[in-house]
Amino acid sequence: MAKHETPLLDQLESGPWPSFVTDLKQQAATKPECWDILGILELSFKDRITHWKHGGIVGVFGYGGGIVGRYADVPELFPGVEHFHTVRVAQPSSKYYSSANLRQLCDLWEKHGSGVTNMHGSTGDIILLGTRTENLEPFFWDLTHDMNQDLGGSGSNLRTPANCIGESRCEWSCYDTEEACYKLTMQYQDEIHRPAFPYKFKFKFSGCPNDCVAAIARSDISVIGTWKDDIRIDQAAVKEYIAGNYPSNGGAHSGRDWGKFDITKEVIDLCPTNCMWMEGGELKIDNSECTRCMHCINVMPRALRPGAEKGASVLVGAKAPILDGAQFSTLVLPFIPMSADNDFEELVEFIEKVWDWWMEVGKNRERVGETMQRVGLPTFIKVMELEPIPQMVKEPRSNPYVFWAEEEVEGGFERDVEEFRAKHAA
């Protein structure tokens, strides 16, 4: 029987879709504190203000992340959620786990917490919602000792790195995203578990420019697979697509009759840089103009493949805040090799260079992308000792003045004015 009247929440059960309200009522049969989740949320709907407070000193010994303190500001009304801390558990690479592992994790959370989960948080962690402070250490002991799993990142830490399925299942992956993610996760354990930075920091690994983990939109350093040479074309397979013998997009849209495949309309005309054309019955690509959008490869996967010289592009500065608008990351390193044989040393060297600069220059609660915006991209690339490339230019300059640094001007800014005036009248 319901502990609280929740008429407003009950409306959320009336639609045809699954409802978290129904789920919580079901969970309340064994975890009575779930009634208080519904009760406090109903009160928030009525009062039009949250009744959650978050933040605090809760955590497990030695860790500065992985637990987010949550408290009710009306504990006398809802004692079951007086403490309702969130636990972030690091997800396995590519989010591969066995059903046995999931059952064990759910059993563990039923034992130490509310049993309510969020699979997954936007960073990728497995989010376990709702436990009391005194349950945190026992939970952590069981998680690490019985399940060999660990907490993820929170606060001003390196957040749990995430990666796409990469070479484990995807033919387009240009590097081993799982190896890169695992290697860097292990290398930066201290940064994941203890605060290190002015604010949160994320890196994510996508194997190709399809960017299935949305690294470009969500991570401070996005590592996105790419290739240096030409898209590999199987002209015989192109002909099969044109003849309608191979389904486009791997058959992904075959549930409806879209008509005969039209390579001009569906591929060539949609190329964002117009770098494709048909010539003598063959598909041609001006690879120097290709921006790696992946559209043609996605449409004709049996005919087109990424090039053979593979690596990654590194972009910096994305963030997805709720209030002031999302920002994509900026291409900084167009191509680096990605090899586990040298422990991804080019990437590691760059990451640490960014960190050293940001830790010094970044303001409190300022993401690295915001620091870049504040100081300007020219300053950032100068500090990173990089040559500017056209992809870094957002738009042509709108003012006619070119500012030179003194060291860029022959003879510097000191000059003999008399000598100058002898040749150039005032």
């Binding site: 605090g56 949160k200 010094e360």
Partner: protein, 80 residues
């Protein structure tokens, strides 16, 4: 001249104890030794947490430091 490790620890504790604010960002400790690199200051501050002379306070999105006697347990700030 850079401070020794013990001097830097003492300077951090003094800053955390005497600051008007009970919770401080890691950057607030940089001034304890302008010659030290940010990463060194961070490592020392985290070592002081392990020694239980400092504590973490986390809003979920940001982590701050303070001496245990000055930190409140359950007040929130900022967004996660």
């Amino acid at each position: 001249m850079a401070l020794s490790k013990d001097e830097l620890k003492a300077a951090i504790i003094e800053k955390a104890t005497k600051s008007p604010k009970p919770q401080l960002y890691i950057k607030d400790f940089y001034a304890c030794d302008p010659d030290a690199k940010p990463r060194e200051i961070k490592n020392i501050a985290n070592e002081l947490v392990r020694e239980q002379k400092l504590m973490f306070w986390s809003s979920g999105s940001t982590t701050m430091y303070g001496v245990p006697s000055r930190i409140k347990n359950d007040d929130g700030e900022g967004g996660v």
